[in-house]
């Protein structure tokens, strides 16, 4: 006998490799007897196996045809390699499936996941409703909306969930392109939902009501210690509150004086902290007394002056104001 067992084993391996695109069960079924068969062939006549039977790949092609295991069109070598890779990945996934199962207390991960499928159907319906809502230009959130109406959105949600469950109960029987379409849709939905959830998460974590945040131009006012607001007539405004365009309180400076009880008050957004440190005028109550005297002296001049610069009734506060109106 000139053919060794090793030669037979090599030949069988190459035949099996050439049949890698077949389902594993079919391939095993086809080749389980091949070593014995080749041993019989080898025992009958001289020469190597390749001399007598041709290249293993040719043999595999003939075997495939004769056994009726042809996979439609003659696959290209790329196709064959792809299917081989897919088969290998599939085998590894199955191994992983079985290995990780005990961690969950099940024989395999898929056994753990199978009862959860209806839950996935519900989630899928919800995601589909969200997608419809977003595609129609509604603001993204966790509830679908239609025309800004939450009620219509809830109807949409219910419809989508029912459709998803119906599809889930029927999808087991699907094959061919409907199945592929379903998988494609699922992938798209998952991609969308990831984007949507990231969006919602950003909205949730950026707290728009956080106080004392995002005060504009804070750096430019680092040297500001207190803020004094004067009204049109130059009177100091007490307990003024400052806000920016977003309604966010503006906080500047810090209290440097003691209040009535002898302690430094905590910073707040009520200005000024220390009215007695006002740079331009004595505190507001003192300005009230001299007012009448001014209004009496230039009785005729007052109307003309007020017409050009200041409204009439405000003349009484003349002495403290930096405006030139009373002097004319």
């Amino acid at each position: 006998m000139t053919v060794t067992g090793q030669e037979i084993a090599d030949y069988v391996d190459r035949v099996r490799a050439a049949l890698a695109d077949l389902p594993p069960a079919v391939r095993d079924e086809l080749t389980e007897d091949l070593p014995e068969h080749l041993a019989e062939v080898a025992a009958e006549a001289g020469g190597t196996l390749v001399d007598r039977l041709g290249e293993p790949e040719t043999y595999a092609a003939e075997l495939r045809a004769a056994a009726g295991a042809e996979t439609g069109d003659r696959p290209t070598s790329l196709d064959r390699r792809l299917t081989a890779v897919r088969a290998r990945v599939g085998t590894q996934l199955r191994t992983l499936d079985a290995q990780l199962g005990p961690l969950l207390g099940y024989a395999s991960v898929s056994e753990f996941l199978r009862p959860l499928r209806p839950a996935w159907w519900l989630v899928r319906g919800w995601l589909a409703a969200l997608l419809v809502s977003v595609v129609l230009g509604e603001p993204s959130g966790l509830l679908p909306r239609l025309d800004g109406s939450v009620l219509a959105g809830l109807f949409l949600l219910a419809g989508a969930v029912l459709a998803s469950v119906w599809l889930g109960r029927r999808s087991a029987g699907l094959g061919g392109w409907p199945r592929r379409l379903l998988r494609l849709g699922t992938a798209a939905l998952l991609l969308f939902s990831f984007a949507a959830l990231v969006n919602v998460d950003q909205h949730a974590s950026s707290d728009e009501f956080a106080p004392y945040e995002g005060v504009s131009l804070r750096k430019a006012y680092d040297s500001v210690q207190d803020v004094f607001v004067y009204d049109e007539q130059g009177r100091l405004v007490r307990n003024a509150r400052l806000f920016d365009q977003n309604g966010v309180p503006i906080r500047l400076g810090w209290p440097t004086c003691v209040d009535g009880t002898g302690v430094v008050p905590p910073p707040s957004n009520v200005y000024p902290y220390c009215p007695e440190q006002a740079p331009f005028a004595p505190p507001a109550p003192a300005t009230a007394s001299p007012a009448p005297s001014v209004s009496t002296s230039p009785t005729t001049a007052a109307p003309t002056g007020s017409a050009t610069a200041v409204p009439g009734p405000t003349v009484s506060s003349g002495p403290t104001a930096p405006t030139p109106a009373p002097t004319r």
Binding site: D33, E40, L53, Y59, A61, E62, A66, A67
Partner: protein
């Protein structure tokens, strides 16, 4: 005309017919087919056909130990296989006679 194309269609029938006279192992069946005149039949075709017929439930197998060489796996027809042989045989005969008549009518030499 390429006989390998024709063989594809009738190899089942040929293998069943060969096995109906006597059980056989793979290489033995191939040799008997070649002796019967089907010289272009390949080993892989016979082996593949045997696997398929076996999977279809038309054949049974048994192993015969051999002292000099490797063990041999013998194939035998079962009842389903004999049924199949009878039906396929009839189909082939009617098909062949149709083809013969078709060619005869047009004066083709045999």
């Amino acid at each position: 005309m390429d006989t390998t194309q024709l063989l594809k269609g009738v190899l089942d029938l040929a293998v069943l017919a060969v096995l109906s006279e006597e059980d056989g192992y793979g290489y033995d069946i191939l040799r008997r087919l070649r002796e019967a005149g089907l010289e272009e039949v390949g080993d892989a075709s016979v082996y593949g056909t045997l696997r398929r017929l076996f999977a279809a439930g038309l054949l049974t197998t048994y192993v015969v130990p051999s002292e000099s060489g490797p063990h041999r796996k013998y194939y035998a027809l079962n009842a389903a296989g004999r049924d199949q042989l009878a039906r396929s045989g009839k189909t082939w005969r009617s098909f062949a006679s149709t083809m013969n008549a078709l060619l005869d009518d047009r004066g083709m030499a045999a």
